[in-house]
């Protein structure tokens, strides 16, 4: 709330009627955007303008608007979640832009994330990877051992938490030149690999999750590191390395 002012901007936004239709970039002009507005509030303002003109508003995914649900997913000026680091699109604020700027907005682009409409893509491939092994096989009876029976070294617990902080937004895939999902999968594999509760099924888990990842059409990792830079939660590349070690170990056992 440090800088209160309004700016006028131009937008070029990807419009696509549905999964099968061809899309194109459309131009819009939007005046009086508060620099305190979030990027999505700016999009709301644009949509209100479109509705007032009896035009179809732009479809985009969003929900919590506080950077944790992982639903928002815009490629802004050639960067996943726009020109700031450590944030999701909903946490991007208009103070990052200048009066008169032209802003390009596209959906995530990746073979494994087909466009549904406008800026909305289908990320259900992530769900299917999780279903292939992203869990501990424990029934939800509550009749497990007491939570403090197995001490977990704080350093391991902290690292597991850092990996588990992934919000599944898909920025890593969108930003990767290979469309690789290895940061996402590496984070989930790491969370469990670092905790005693996850070790029992570690072998099966990494093999199944990687298999599903490959089946979904994600590309391979060539260690460029763009995913780590664009990840809103700062998930470390170490997780990919750990997954590779887990995978190698599992492959030798199997």
């Amino acid at each position: 709330m440090a800088s209160k002012k309004n700016i006028n901007i131009n937008l070029k936004v990807w419009r696509q009627k549905n999964a099968k239709a061809a899309g194109s970039m459309e131009s819009y002009k939007l005046d009086n955007v508060s620099t305190d507005s979030s990027f999505l509030e700016m999009m709301d303002q644009l949509n209100e303008q479109l509705v007032a003109e009896k035009k179809e508003p732009i479809a985009f995914d969003h929900d919590c608007r506080e950077g944790i649900c992982g639903m928002c997913s815009m490629y802004i000026n050639g960067r996943a979640h726009g020109p700031d680091t450590g944030i999701t699109t909903c946490q991007l604020h208009m103070r990052m832009f200048n009066d008169g700027d032209t802003i390009f907005v596209e959906p995530w682009r990746s073979k494994a994330f087909p466009v549904i409409k406008d800026l909305v893509v289908d990320r259900s491939a992530f769900d299917r990877i999780q279903q292939a092994g992203g869990f501990v096989s424990v029934n939800t009876s509550g009749n497990t051992i007491d939570a403090n029976t197995i001490p977990v070294p704080k350093a391991d617990a902290d690292k597991a938490f850092e990996a588990a902080a992934c919000i599944g937004c898909g920025a890593c895939v969108a930003t990767c030149k290979n469309g690789s999902a290895m940061l996402f999968v590496g984070a989930k594999v790491s969370q469990y690999a670092l905790l005693p509760q996850g070790k029992v099924e570690a072998t099966e888990r990494v093999l199944n999750m990687v298999r599903q990842m490959d089946e979904e059409g994600f590309g391979n990792c060539t260690n460029t590191g763009a995913c780590e830079i664009e990840c809103p939660k700062g998930i470390s590349l170490e997780n990919i390395a750990r997954m590779n070690r887990e995978y190698l170990k599992a492959s030798l056992i199997k």
């Binding site: 009627k17 508060s34 999505l40 509030e41 969003h62 929900d63 506080e66 096989s137 509550g142 001490p151």
Partner: protein, 669 residues
């Protein structure tokens, strides 16, 4: 209609065990013949769907988001309560039970709350077994912190992302069942009506949000876990898509709606910045462990701050009014949410607010004392017994970063101010709804076969929810209550066979949905859905918000009814049904909010007392504290739908009996 809460006989500590022992079971070989629908995949819905899937029922789960992992439980920050007493500070099941009843200002049902406290420990065991990475101490054991309204440390947490970690735990259990084929997941689907056959819940009508297809889904039981209705205020900490539609549709089909006026206004949210604002962001209550809340003692200082002529760091210690510590020395900054919110409003109404927005509404949450304290401790722990002020500050900030790093970053991104250097600005915002669909002890609504769990029901938090208790309730309902009580209901359904969707009842429900959709798409209106939603929000915030009075509520009832009329006359919804159409989704949700809003005002008007989050300005003592009326209002007000005119709804009373806790004035002084 007589409300039967079905509270089991016996001593409070034995009710749940005895009840469980006598509930009917469904044998494993019969479970695959039975279908269960779960609407919503937050903590309550995901845990229920996973548990019922594990048991062997055919489960169909629905969420409107693109993945079950996005449900708004994910945004819960601070923690989850459990009576483990790991900290050896006198905690017990009884104390958690007592704190929750007292925190709820004696408007919750004793038996339900005790059960919640009983199973709380299992939640932690379960989540750890699932690989939820809770915060730990250096010895490798689980760490705890304090939350409002308690004097023990019973809150388990994972930085400021506890909801995320618990939800991802439940999502992993759900994913496992989806992978095994026991749960079928319907992402991007919204429930738009309930289907009843012979008075029982037998299915739902859902809209595929990608194709617009209207689908019929049948089941032997339907579980609604669709969350709360805070978005009736337009601005709230809820996700943009959070809505009351599933709960409201079952209300219209005969489920009573209880205590709709009980809304939690959370004290620590980032203040409103402008008219295009779409939502409010919570700063976790856990911050009140370390932050001190204050406003300037002198009005001229507050004015100078608002004018940008003075910085908070320039106000001397003796010129600061730590108003919570002043008014409530025993609990200080950790009073319950409703108390903290009202105290902030009182200061701002009196002219001491520090935020330069339209309403001057904002107070400080200051971490400088904690930086000094923790910095010194950290230096000593490192063997440095003579630290310099710079060393203390650096270490203190590092301590804060470890505890609350993500919250501080979030704050900085939104406000462009650094909370390590200058105090946070905060103000209360709508956060959680204690009211919801009325359910009995089995979490069954007044429609047989229709169960309601988590925030969507009314059951456990009375008139005010304590921090870190929502996560506890969601998982308790889904993991540890519904599997027993739903099975008890389904035991009579093993001979029913598959429910056909080709019945007149399904056709009728589908027609209701299609008629509504067609109405909106063909309406020749001129204004957007948000235009009406924002108007509704303003009425609700100003007249059914933190402070309420008979005159304002009476006005609100008329104004909302009028707004509803205008909405149907003049709303414009672009696009078609057979496509992804977010404006149509919003219109269908706002239609329900408009009806609910009116009922909330009616409920607040009939409740001539102040309790918890419901503050009627007419009922306060000389010091501005709430005046409850136990003689006349120790009941749950459960409303029965009577057709389109909401004014005609009839209220039924469930009397609240306190057998095990002595009902008393709530005192945090």
């Amino acid at each position: 209609m007589k409300l039967d809460s079905k509270i089991p006989e016996g001593h409070i500590s034995e009710k749940w065990t005895n009840h469980k022992n006598h509930l009917k079971l469904v044998a494993p070989n019969n479970r695959p013949k039975i279908d269960v629908i779960v609407v919503g995949t937050g903590l309550a819905g995901a845990s229920a769907a996973a548990s019922l899937g594990e048991m062997g029922y055919n489960v169909k789960a629905f969420c409107f988001q693109d993945s079950p992992r996005r449900a708004h439980s994910i945004a819960a920050q601070g923690g989850v309560n459990a009576a483990k007493n790991y900290q050896n500070d006198g905690d017990s099941v009884y104390r958690l039970f007592y704190d929750t009843i007292k925190g709820g200002d004696y408007r919750a049902r004793e038996a339900n709350v005790h059960r919640l406290a009983e199973v709380s420990g299992n939640i932690i065991d379960q989540c750890v077994a699932q690989g939820v990475p809770f915060a730990r101490e250096y010895g490798g054991l689980l760490d705890n912190r304090s939350f409002g309204g308690t004097q023990v440390q019973r809150t388990f947490y994972a930085a400021g992302q506890t909801g995320q970690q618990l939800l991802l735990g439940a999502y992993s259990a759900l994913s496992r069942q989806i992978g095994l084929g026991r749960v079928k997941m319907y992402n991007r689907h919204e429930m738009l009506d309930l289907v009843k056959v012979d008075g029982k819940a037998r299915g739902i009508i859902a809209r595929n949000l990608i194709t617009g297809e209207i689908e019929r889904h049948s089941a032997h039981a339907v579980i609604i876990a669709s969350g709360g209705y805070g978005n009736v205020y337009f601005l709230s900490t809820n996700a943009m898509g959070s809505n009351v539609t599933a709960a409201w549709k079952i209300h219209k089909q005969g489920a009573l709606f209880a205590n709709p006026c009980f809304v939690q206004i959370h004290p620590t949210c980032i203040p409103v910045h402008g008219t295009n604002q779409s939502k409010l962001t919570l700063m976790s209550e856990s911050l009140r462990n370390s932050g001190r809340i204050w406003v300037p003692k002198k009005k001229e200082d507050a004015e100078a701050i608002r004018a940008g002529k003075l910085k908070p760091t320039q106000i001397a210690e003796e010129d600061r009014d730590y108003f919570l510590e002043r008014r409530y020395p025993a609990f200080g900054n950790l009073v319950p949410r409703d108390v903290a919110s009202r105290a902030a409003k009182e200061r701002c109404d009196a002219g001491y607010g520090i935020e330069a927005n339209d309403t001057n509404e904002g107070v400080y949450l200051d971490f400088s004392t904690e930086i000094q304290n923790k910095g010194k401790q950290a230096a000593y722990a490192k063997g440095n017994h003579n630290p310099t002020p710079e060393e203390i500050t650096t270490l203190g900030k590092a301590w804060l970063e470890e505890k609350y790093g993500n919250l501080f970053t979030m704050y900085q991104k939104i406000t462009d101010e650094n909370p390590y250097e200058t105090p946070m600005k905060i103000y209360p915002a709508v956060h959680y709804t204690m009211g919801g669909v009325w359910v009995d002890y089995n979490l069954q609504s007044t429609i047989p076969g229709c169960f309601v769990a988590g925030e969507a029901n009314f059951s456990d938090h009375g008139a005010n929810r304590l921090g870190a208790s929502a996560l506890m309730q969601g998982l308790a309902d889904g993991y540890f209550v519904l599997p027993y009580t739903v099975s008890n209901y389904l035991a009579d359904e093993i001979r029913t066979g598959k429910i056909s969707t080709d019945s007149p009842e399904f056709a009728e429900a589908e027609k209701r949905v299609m008629d509504q959709i067609n109405f909106f798409l063909n309406n020749k209106g001129t204004k957007s859905v948000d235009y009406f939603h924002k108007k509704l929000g303003l009425i609700m915030w100003n007249k059914v918000g933190m402070g309420r009075n008979a005159q304002g509520l009476t006005e609100a009832i008329t104004e909302i009814a009028q707004l509803k009329e205008d909405f149907y006359k003049d709303v414009y919804v672009p696009g078609n049904n057979d496509e992804m159409n977010p404006e149509l989704e919003k219109a269908l949700r706002v239609a329900d909010f408009l009806e609910l809003g009116q009922l909330m005002a009616m409920d607040a008007l009939q409740r001539n007392e102040s309790c918890g989050g419901h503050f009627r300005e007419e009922y306060q003592d000389a010091e501005g504290e709430t005046l409850r009326d136990d003689e006349n209002f120790a009941f749950v007000g459960a409303w029965e739908y009577q057709g389109e005119d909401i004014n005609k709804e009839i209220m039924h009373k469930e009397e609240l009996k306190y057998e095990f806790i002595k009902i008393a004035a709530r005192n945090y002084k």
